[in-house]
Amino acid sequence: AAGMFLRLLSDVQWRAANPKWRRMTSSQRSTSTTAEAAPVYLPAQAQVVICGGGITGTSVAYHLSKMGWKDVVLLEQGRLAAGTTRFCAGIVSTARPVSIERKMAHYSNKLYQQLEQETGVPTGYTKTGSLSLAQTQDRLISLKRIASSLNVMGIPCEIITPKQAVQLHPLINIHDLVGAMYVPEDALVTSANVSLALATAASRNGVQIHERTSVSHVTVQKGRVTGVETDRGRIQCQYFVNCAGQWAYELGHSGEEPVHIPLHACEHFYLLTHPLTEPLPSSLPTVVDPDGRIYIRNWQGGILSGGFEKNPKPLFTEGRNQLEIQNLQEDWDHFGPLLSALLRRMPGLEALQILQLVNCPESFTPDMRCIMGESPTARGYFVLAGMNSAGISYGGGAGKYLAEWMVNGYPSDNVWPLDLKRFGTLQSSRTFLRHRVMEVMPLMCDLKVPRWDFQTGRQLRTSPLYDRLDAQGARWMEKHGFERVKYFVPPGKDLLDLDHSKTFYKPDWFDIVGAEVKCCKEAVCVIDMSSFTKFEISSTGDQALESLQYLFSNDLDVPVGHVVHTGMLNEKGGYENDCSIARLSKRSFFMISPTDQQVHCWAWLKNRLPDDSNLTLEDVTWKYTALNLIGPRAVDVLSELSYAPMTAEHFPSLFCKEMSVGYANGIRVMSITHTGEPGFVLYIPIEYALHVYNEVMNMGQKYGIRNAGYYALRSLRIEKFFAFWGQDLNAFTTPMECGREFQVKLDKGIEFVGQEALLEQKQNGVYKRFTMFILEDHDTDMDLWPWWGEPIFRNGRYVGKTTSSAYSYTLERHVCLGFVHNFDEKTGEEQVVTTDFINQGEYEIDIAGQRFQAKAKLYPFSSLFTQRRRKDEVELSGYQRE
């Protein structure tokens, strides 16, 4: 009944606010029962067709039209804002753990605030603030981390005591609370009306909106969108935007060339009550009790309360299904635990009368972040969906970023964490999605400690050595579906249960990883790095070299057998990818990129390589097992196994050679380790993997060889100031900004992507600098550990955030990496960052509200390097040359 009421209310307002529209919408409604053809015909063509009239679709339409793209058609299968958006709880909250999500929510809040004034449509916007409660110390730490981040964004936010909380919301029971976070500017809206307001503004700007029009599929020719087929005819278009919410997956799969949009719907319940005897004031803050898994907002004098239960009910696994839609009813038994949590938080509500339990499906994604961006296979096919029940909070900002992406070629901020291309076909299995969303939905409320891993959808991609490593005590994490070793638990020593390692403090694997690091430094370790993305580019003539010279910033015209570290840059000089490329022959190259680049890098190259049948690009990731031999004795192990001299004189750093190891021939050996330590990576055709591994381990015994995992690798690379793409580097960071000018050959004689931008930076200086921080007064045993995303302060003023951190077992200190900006004191504008600016400052890192002194360095400690290198190149991010 409440749903109907909301609907009626919005109808009335819709018509009143939008006289231009009344005729069309009312006539459509009156004819809908007799199923006659709608009176308004679809246009035959448009620049952009958006599918979906919910908050995301209307937001994209609004922003596109604002940016000057007016030839836009928005299609909605039912009525505007009638799907998930209508049922949405309407909470706009910036208290989000991921930086880009905070930015989107912040923008949404500002947008909705002025929307009523802009459009005349009442949006119900009320600035109520929000209270996030902590029942445990760990929860409070996670809130403090968010508070630190909000504060440096200029969003008011404070950590308060339970007593202060009860002053803000008198109904809260505080006996089990340890603290709370108050964000005074968070707001409430009537979500359907926000969507209608956005639609109103968009249509005034020229966007055509057609309700009751279903898209059956999108047509793609030669990798480009050409049009959409609807139940009311075809529209030719250059761009298509899939904003179909929980139907986005199906719509993506409906065309001939499937677009994989990994999301899955779950039922979501919330409760509406009658007003209290003394109706609740509409200014009362929204309460989020993550430990109780619930949220509570005021609603028409009563409350609206929902939550994220531990045992979610996924639905539409087999696609849209009329039976399941009809069965979407109130399930009180399922809601029981949340009701208990509500009455525990607000015992005074016992006598409050129930109005309705609303069942409103929401779509969730495999990693709890929304999905945005262009399809890797169909150009012009954009997606914005999978809002993980935060559609209203993100809708405005996400719509803006996507519109910028379409209009300008890239959004104004780094949206890689949300990019559709972080997923591939492998996350598209319905079984995987069903299992994963059942884990993800409860996670919305679970505590997010550093280095947590998903438990479902695992063991999908594994190295052939998986069982061997597992039997030796490997503990696993997952990246892009691939199982990677974190560390090896030594025999006889078992870690306490998983919960114990869930800590913001020193983790229980500290000594284990320490031993692995020590072995890398003093003897030799093996790390299975098979997950890295591996491409081969070859041609009959010089096409491969020419193309790569254009697409990569370093000079790839090196002698055969050389390995080059280089960025794959965009026009602004930012890193689209950071990779190592080995020249296998005159005309073929072997390229190694981070694991999660498999889809993105492929699409980037495919879209930019000339359409030439003599030039081939092949994904050979699955063909090779990669073993990284790290340590001073790696050279001894390898030379004994190959009967070939492996010393620096014969095999200098950054070389690549095919050789035999044990009985196996054709092993690609490269003298890189991705850590700055001496050693080699062996790229082994998978059928030889077990043999080579066994040989290496047997031969290595006398040199003290042992297995190691990624945690050791991380500690090693961070103490050496190595930046990793995806963590430290992204499309908004350039080689100049992270001390990698030596990997850019501005004078290589061939124009390359990003060259102009880099030249300008070289002349005018950079606006941020990648810097290494050594924590000074940080007690590893007692203090909170840094993770990433911690604010950096210079002389007491905010200058940037960390991007990664690790404990350096060599320095016996924590090392954080991050970017330092120079914001103008008055205007906040970014200014040039010079070496002096970095060096002449007192730095502090803020970990959950506590500041630690840090020493800034632009170059790694030279004492950490003992390796002999090839003269003209170093495997470093710094300028450390001999």
Partner: protein, 451 residues
Amino acid sequence: FYLTPPQVNSILKANEYSFKVPEFDGKNISSVLGFDSNQLPANAPIEDRRSAATCLQTRGMLLGVFDGHAGCACAQAVSERLFYYIAVSLLPHETLLEIENAVESGRALLPILQWHKHPNDYFSKEASKLYFNSLRTYWQELIDLNSGETTDVREALINAFKRLDNDISLEAQVGDPNSFLNYLVLRVAFSGATACVAHVDGVDLHIANTGDSRAMLGVQEEDGSWSAVNLSYDHNAQNEHEVERVKMEHPKSEEKNLVKQDRLLGLLMPFRAFGDVKFKWSIELQKRVIESGPDQLNDNEYTKFIPPNYFTPPYLTAEPEVIHHKLRPQDKFLVLATDGLWETMHRQDVARIVGEYLTGVHHQQPIAVGGYKVTLGQMHGLLTERRARISSVFEDQNAATHLIRHAVGNNEFGTVDHERLSKMLSLPEELARMYRDDITIIVVQFNSHVI
């Protein structure tokens, strides 16, 4: 003192067993999905037995419960042997020949049955040779008799029951040079057992029943509710036809002595049974066998005691009554259980409890607030109570265990009362038999997809 819920569970679950028919290609093509079985002793040791096996040379599955009396020897023997007799009765002539030739030439035997046994369900090793020889004699006779006709399941079941009872009787008369075996065969013959056996082959379900155990079909009606259909008749004094039958088989002069206090000759509750030679042999034969038997037998007052008014034996038969039923899609499960269950629960309740358990739905109407005035507090109380009621469902992974929990622990409202359950299970051995009988249950779940 009370047993804690985990203690109660460990008692209830000690004998539970589940079998799932293996799937091929992700599909189960058998009409049986699997079965759950369990037993709860009241006697020490328990006198009930159960068996389940898949016929390997013919199609079909055999399941049975056996309620022993005057000791467990007969029930044990029948639980080990009866399915072999049935399987052999069902075998075509060529297979019998093949088996006989294999035995003759010392080759490996075709396996006849695949047993599905709980570890506590034992086979007596010592008697296996003896049992085998009797069985072999049976199939040799079947080979000689070769009728050339296809085997009728009803006939096979009746023949197998009668033949086994006959062999039990003969073995006791002949005796065995081994003194242990000699005592064993006598104990088997002088104790008794009822048997209720199901043979499922596709949609053909046959129930062969001897005695007062019972087979019941669980049927789901169109509205989702559950009803029970009996697939066996109890052979006891409550069954008029059975009383009539017994009277027909004996002279008019004995009529008033045949059934006294609802018992056969005033002694025996079931009117049909295996063993119990005291009700089958002539007085002379009984005396001869007992006198020549071992001392333990002589010292046993029960065996020596001749029933009163014993003039025209046999008074008892092991011949089963066979009911054939063609399975329908609405037939969801079959419950085979000894009288220990049926004494405490009505079949309608059994059908409902098992049905709701198997479908995973506690047939409670979902709550709808509708136009009613319900407060959050009231709703909370209601949900808490429902959860408590449902929780007993989730404690069990086995339908038979779930049924036993209800049979023993149900209060007057039809819900499991932990206090009562705890009391019933903590009764001392000597008292237990006064409050309840041994309970043995097999719940067979049918595969609606192929029916």
